[in-house]
């Protein structure tokens, strides 16, 4: 089963997204801040990471940078989730190494499409 690490500090969002991902057949593990996200990514090596950008302890940008800097986790695709829709967010996400980018509130079908594209073997 495909394992997704969801890094999200907002409880409602976390609950909602995890339930819907589970309903769609994914195994979901949860991290509630950036540091925990990085630690769990290294420890569990999920198939994909959904990373909120506004996180306590260390933010999503930095967390992604650390994930991409680690040899063990470098190849794990990261989709950035952000409520920020200001100019440059997309570039910033690409710059820190995110594979894709989506804005909140999450449109579940769109997100599922992006997840599927990244998990397809040989994608890229």
């Amino acid at each position: 089963m495909t394992r997704i690490l969801l890094v999200e500090d907002n409880e409602m969002n976390r609950d909602m997204l995890s339930r819907r991902l589970i309903r769609n057949g994914f195994e979901v593990t949860i991290a509630v801040d950036g540091q925990q996200g990085v630690d769990m990514a290294i420890a569990e090596r999920p198939d994909l990471i959904l990373m909120d950008m506004s996180l306590p302890v260390i933010d999503g940008w930095e967390a992604t940078r650390r994930v991409k800097a680690n040899d063990r986790t470098r190849d794990i695709p990261v989709i950035a989730l952000t409520a920020h829709a200001m100019a440059g967010d997309r570039e910033k996400a690409m710059e820190v190494g995110c594979e894709d980018y989506d804005t909140k509130p999450v449109e579940i079908t769109r997100l599922l499409g992006k997840i599927a594209a990244l998990l397809k073997p040989g994608a890229g």
């Binding site: 907002n10 100019a87 890229g124």
Partner: protein
Amino acid sequence: MTNAADGRPHWRRSFKTRLMVLVSLAVVLPALFTCLILGIQLNRQARNLFANGLAANLETFALVLEDVERNVSDSLFRMASDNTLQAALDAANQAQLKAYVDGQREALGIAFIAVYNADYRNVAFSGAEKDAVIGQWRFAAKGEGSGGDCMVVAEEAEQAEQLVRCNDTVYRVWQVQIFRTVGQGQGSQLLGYVVGGSRVANTGLIGELLSRRIIHPLIWADGELVYSNIAFPQSTGPASLDGVAHEYDVDQTAYLGVAKALRVESHKLAYGVVAPLAPLRETLLRSLLTVAGVGLFVVAVTLIAISLRATRLLRPIEQLRLGAARIGGGDLSQRISIKSGDEFEALADQFNDMTSRLEGSYSDLEKKVEDRTRQLEVASQHKSQFLANMSHELRTPLNAIIGYSEILQEDVTDLGQQNLIPDLKKIESAGRHLLGLINNILDLSKIEAGKMDVFIEPVDIQPLIKEVLSIVKPLAEKSGNAIEVICPDDIGSFRSDQIKVKQCLLNLMSNANKFTSKGTLTLAAAREDNGGVCFRVSDTGVGMTEEQLGRLFQAFSQADVSTTKRFGGTGLGLAITKHFCALLGGDVTVESTPDVGSTFIIKLPDQAAAPAAAAESPAPTPADGRPTVLVVDDDPAVRSLLAKSLEKEGYRIISAGNGVEALALAREHRPQAITLDVLMPQMDGWDALKELKADSALRDVPVIMVTVLNERGMAIPLGASDFVTKPVDRQRLTAILRNYCTNPSGASILVVEDDLPTRETLCRSLASMGYTAHAAVNGRDGLAWLSKHPRPSLILLDLMMPEMDGFEFLRELRKQSAFVNVPVIVVTAKELTAEDIRVLNGQTEKIITKDHTYLAELAAAVRGSLAHQSARAEERVAG
């Protein structure tokens, strides 16, 4: 340095010139007038003097004539009373008489002497032409009547005088009676007559006149010219006989002459004196020339003196002008030093005072502007931050509302509680509506802050319209509206921002739906003649009046305040639509009739971000392959100095003296770089820079400002690439130029790109930067090109291509030793994965994402890469 601040004087005539002209007129005109009057006066006086001289001569002439007459008549009297003559006459001794008159004639020097007896018979004759004299003179009637051969002028008179002509010679003849006194009281006895004749113009007389300096005497007898030693016309008689001077024309030479006459019996003997006027005129002319020469000399000396003086007088004005020019040019530290002690010094002092105050308030102002700008920047940052936070804070709970209502819908479906679904849908729909409003407000804020991103990509029109319809259809059904779609099958795609176009169409469609019930909404798409795309959204709704149309596209404004109550909405949709269309290079317009309906028309270009330079021809390549630099400075000295030093560095130089000329030359030659002076007449450097940056064909040409002051703060925001201060540090300038001008002959660039418009855009912008661009349509084509051509300086590579993509091309390229080091810049629209980036890293110089600003980034990257290469090449040469 001063040249820059100087500014060229471009008046037509200097004050000094005008002053000189004025003075010249004031001096020369009276002088000319004086000369004229003087000349006329002098001429008249000289002529009078000359005439007076002639009159004196004439007087002398008269005296000489009188002398001659007296001499002859006295001699004849003496002869008549001479006993020797009387005795010889008594004796009728002809031989003795002949000897006597011969002796007398010789002594007197006259033409002839004749002696007659009382019967008028000639008894003796001495002189020439006896026969002629005796034979012709028949003027004494008595003598003739008595058969004598004598001439008697007047029988009774003791003495008589006559003028006679004989054989073309005119003689003056005197006759004296010969008496003998006979005893006391017996009276006297007439013995005969003695007659003497003298040529009127005899040599004695002429000699006498000459000795008295009468050079050209004239003698007329009875109006006929008898004597003249010049070619005096025979027919010309004396003009008057009253001694008044007259001018005569003698053989085309002007003479002045006077004449008088004396009567000899019934004849008139006129005598005159003439003299040529030429010497007089020559003398007169010489005098006048002398006067004029002296006058001119005086005028010239005066003018030179005034000129020197004027230069000194005008120096303060020139100083003031130069100072004002420098201050006008922005150098407020300038002070003018004039120590003339007059009004000019006072003016300079006031000028300096003014400049000081100006400098003071200017620096105050600058400080204030700086402070205010900083405050504004801080405020703007706060605002942006606030918006970001608001966005997050508002969206998070909304996220939950929408998300949970969706989850609940799924859950109740699973539980079979279908009756709850409509309520849950209402919650979700309300949440989405709220999200839409928040998004609109955020969009508008971003547009106003200039932070709205535009992401240009190929947009397929038919799928786009389908997507819009799928969203609008449920809304339309709710309002009972039918939807009609007109879209040709072959409409294809265009390059624009898909999300924004979709949002615009959604805005217009939902708007149309909002104001229409039980009507028809029409969405039509069509190609324009110019290749652009036109969307028309029509409804059969309430429509709008002219007045309402005027306020339509303003933010927060609906056609009518009351409509807000009736139809809801924030009124932001149309404002956003208008902004989006403008961002994409298009426009939105509206046509409407109240109660009939409205039609909104969006027109978008085929290439949203394509540079407007598309229509321009590529830059002409310099004939000799040297990079061209346009030097713009109004001072010819600065121009030639820069040109010389840059030509030494291997640049081809064209130069212009002002902004207007510079623009024309830049358009014609497309230089690789421009150095631009700031202070110039007509159009200054800043204006020229703005024009250059507004011209799509020249926008990419780097401009280096040459300023007197350090104006980086002004230069860089206006689009200048760099700036140097005057006096120009040549090394710094050449270093800057080296960055911007790589030798185009050495820089050929291969563009590997499958998309035709992008390929053309890239080639064009490379050409406009002065490089030679070669195109290949995919990886395989690119490799084929490389096998047949010299190694290019750089390769621009797209990743997603048919046949052979960018990754494979790169692999193949690096396998060949010749191309291991060719720098590659990746230009792609692909969203790169970490794997992609890993593969590309180390093999490529830079990865540029195709967005709306990528061309500028690309230009910088290409220049940077080539400059880097040439620097490395230089190091190798040096090492």
